[in-house]
Amino acid sequence: MSDAFPEGYSDLQPLADWALPTEAERSQRRRDSTLAELQAFYQTMMPRLPQLLDYLNGFALDDLPARERRLLHLSFAFAEISPFVEQYHRVVLPLNFDERRFTPMHDDPGNR
C-alpha cells in the first residue's frame, strides 16, 4: 500500500497495517505488539489526531472514500492503544480476562 492514506497523511504510512476494520483485529494487533511499538504509534499519531479528525469531519461519515475510511480505522486503532500507553503502560491489563473470549458483537454488522 504505497498510498494507504489521503494526501497530506503520508507520514502515517508506517502505521498503515494498524488500519484494521474490526475491533477484534485491532485489539489482537495491540496484544501482539510490544509496549515500545504502541508508544511509537502513540507518539506519531497523537500530535496529528485533532487535524486528522477535522479533516475527516469534512466528509459524510457513512460515505467515506477508501483512503479516508482507512484513516478513520487508524484513529480507532489509536483509541485501542492509547490507554495502554497513557495509563496502563503495558499491552494487556494486569487483571486480564482472555480477550479472545470477549466478543465485540458490533463487529458483525448483522448485530448492530
Binding site: 477535522d54 461519515l61 489509536f78 497513557e86 495509563q87 494486569p94 487483571l95 480476562f97 470477549f102
Partner: protein
C-alpha cells in the same frame, strides 16, 4: 442549598428491615437453588430480550435463548408492525425452527429445516408438505405457541409464563417511574460485548452492584474518575430499594481531569470518562438535585437486567444463566448516532475505556466464583455501600423460598 455532601451516611437506616447479618453464599453454588431459580424466577418473570430498534422493519427478527429454562424465543416484527414472541419450536415434532447463524435477520416466513413446515411472521401455520397424509390436521390450531410479550420505553420483555400474573408495567412498579422518560430512542448506536463466564450469574450481578471494588480493580482504568479526597472509597451518593428492583447513584469526581486522548475525544464528542456533565439533559427524577458528583444512575431490574443512565448515553448488563457455574454475559453501550468522524472516534474511545474496565470486572468475577465454588465460605460479609447486594439476595429468596422451606423442613 447543600454545600458539602456527606458520604458517610448509612443506607441501612432507611431500610432497617433488610437486617445487617451475614448473607448465605448457598444461592451462588447450590444446584438445588439453581433448579428452583429456573422454576420460580426465570420461568415466570418478565425478562428483557431486546430493543424495538433491533427489529425496525416487518420481517426483522432475532432469537433469544433462555437456556436456564431450555427455551428459545423468536421475537419478530409482523407485517402489521406488531412485535410478537413465538416459541422457537416446530409444531410437527418439536424441531428448533430457527438456529445456527440464522438467529438474527429478516424473514418473509419461517420454514422448519426438518420437514419444511412453514409459518407466517405472526406464527400462523401456512404450509405442511404432504398435508393430505396427516389425520385430522387443523392448521388453524397449529400455529407456533405464542409467548407473553410487553414493551416498556422501547425495551422488549417476554414472560415464559403463558398467563403472567401482572403486566410488565405492574412488574416494573416504581422502577418504571424512576427510569421512564429517559430518551432511550435517542441512543440507537450500540457497542456490545458478549462473554461466557465460569461463574454463577449472581456473582456478576453482585460485582456490578457496588463501587467498593473501583479502587482496587479499576485503579488504573478509571483512575480518579470515581473517587476523590472527599469520597475516597466511592460510596454511593444515593440508594433506593424497591420491592423487586433497586437503584443507586454512582459517584463521579467532578474535579477529575481526563488524560490527553480523553481530552481530544471530549472535544469531538461525549465520552464515558467525562464528569460534571450537563445534568439538565436527564429526566427530572434522575439526579433530581442536579448534583455535579453524579456519575451514573445504576439500576438493577429483577432478575437479570441492569440499566444504567447518564447524560448522553445509557448502558446495560444482562446475565443469562447457562448452569449454576456458567453465565452468558452481555454488556451494551447505547450512544447517539454519530454525525461525523470526530464523534465516531469519541464513541470508539469511550466504549473501549468501558470495555477495559469490564475486562477487569470479568476477571474478578471468575476469581470470586472459583473461591466460592468449593463451599468453604458459608456467608458473605457485606458493608453498607454493598447494600444493593443484600437487597438482591433478599428479593431472590422472596421468590425462591429455599431457606424458608429448609427451615420449615428442619424445625418441627
Amino acid at each position: 442549598m447543600r454545600t458539602r455532601e456527606s458520604y458517610e451516611k448509612r443506607f441501612i437506616d432507611n431500610y432497617p428491615d433488610l437486617g445487617t447479618g451475614p448473607v448465605p453464599t448457598e444461592p451462588c453454588i447450590s444446584s438445588e437453588y439453581f433448579r428452583l431459580e429456573q422454576e420460580r424466577v426465570f420461568a415466570r418473570t418478565w425478562l428483557k430480550v431486546g430493543r424495538v430498534e433491533d427489529i425496525p422493519a416487518p420481517g426483522d427478527y432475532f432469537v433469544q435463548d433462555i437456556a436456564v429454562c431450555q427455551a428459545s424465543v423468536i421475537v419478530v416484527r409482523g407485517k402489521d408492525q406488531a412485535i410478537r414472541a413465538l416459541h422457537n419450536v416446530c409444531r410437527h415434532r418439536g424441531n428448533r425452527l430457527v438456529w445456527g447463524h440464522e438467529t438474527r435477520g429478516k424473514a418473509r416466513a419461517f420454514q422448519c429445516r426438518f420437514h419444511g413446515w412453514t409459518y407466517a411472521l405472526n406464527g400462523r401455520l401456512l404450509g405442511v408438505p404432504d398435508e393430505q397424509m396427516f389425520y385430522e390436521l387443523n392448521k388453524e390450531e397449529c400455529g407456533l405457541p405464542q409467548v407473553a410479550i410487553d414493551i416498556w420505553e422501547g425495551f422488549i420483555f417476554i414472560n415464559l409464563d403463558p398467563e403472567p400474573g401482572e403486566t410488565l408495567l405492574q412488574y416494573l412498579g416504581e422502577m418504571a417511574d424512576h427510569l421512564g422518560g429517559f430518551p432511550y430512542a435517542d441512543f440507537p448506536t450500540c457497542f456490545s460485548y458478549q462473554a461466557e463466564l465460569k461463574a454463577n450469574w449472581k456473582v456478576m450481578l453482585d460485582a456490578f452492584s457496588e463501587a467498593y471494588h473501583a479502587l482496587t480493580i479499576h485503579g488504573e482504568t478509571i483512575g480518579t474518575g470515581n473517587f476523590s479526597k472527599e469520597n475516597p472509597m466511592s460510596h454511593p451518593v444515593d440508594v433506593r430499594l424497591y420491592p423487586r428492583h433497586r437503584s443507586a447513584v454512582i459517584y463521579g469526581n467532578p474535579a477529575h481531569v481526563p488524560g490527553p486522548t480523553a481530552r481530544v475525544a471530549g472535544q469531538y464528542g461525549r465520552t464515558s470518562m467525562e464528569r460534571g456533565l450537563d445534568m439538565n439533559t436527564l429526566p427530572a427524577h434522575i439526579n433530581p438535585d442536579r448534583r455535579p458528583n453524579f456519575n451514573f444512575d445504576l439500576n438493577a431490574i429483577f432478575p437479570n437486567f441492569m440499566l444504567h443512565v447518564r447524560p448522553g448515553e445509557y448502558f446495560t448488563h444482562q446475565f443469562w444463566p447457562l448452569d449454576r457455574n456458567r453465565t452468558l454475559w452481555e454488556g451494551r453501550n447505547y450512544l447517539p448516532a454519530a454525525k461525523n468522524a470526530g464523534q465516531r472516534f469519541s464513541q470508539e474511545y469511550s466504549h473501549l475505556m468501558r470495555r477495559n474496565a469490564w475486562l477487569e470486572d470479568t476477571t474478578a468475577m471468575e476469581a470470586t466464583f472459583a473461591g466460592l465454588a468449593g463451599g468453604t465460605l458459608k456467608h458473605f460479609l457485606l458493608s453498607d455501600p454493598e447494600i444493593l447486594i443484600r437487597h438482591s439476595y433478599k428479593v431472590l429468596e422472596d421468590h425462591v423460598g429455599f431457606q424458608r422451606e429448609h427451615r420449615a423442613g428442619t424445625c418441627p
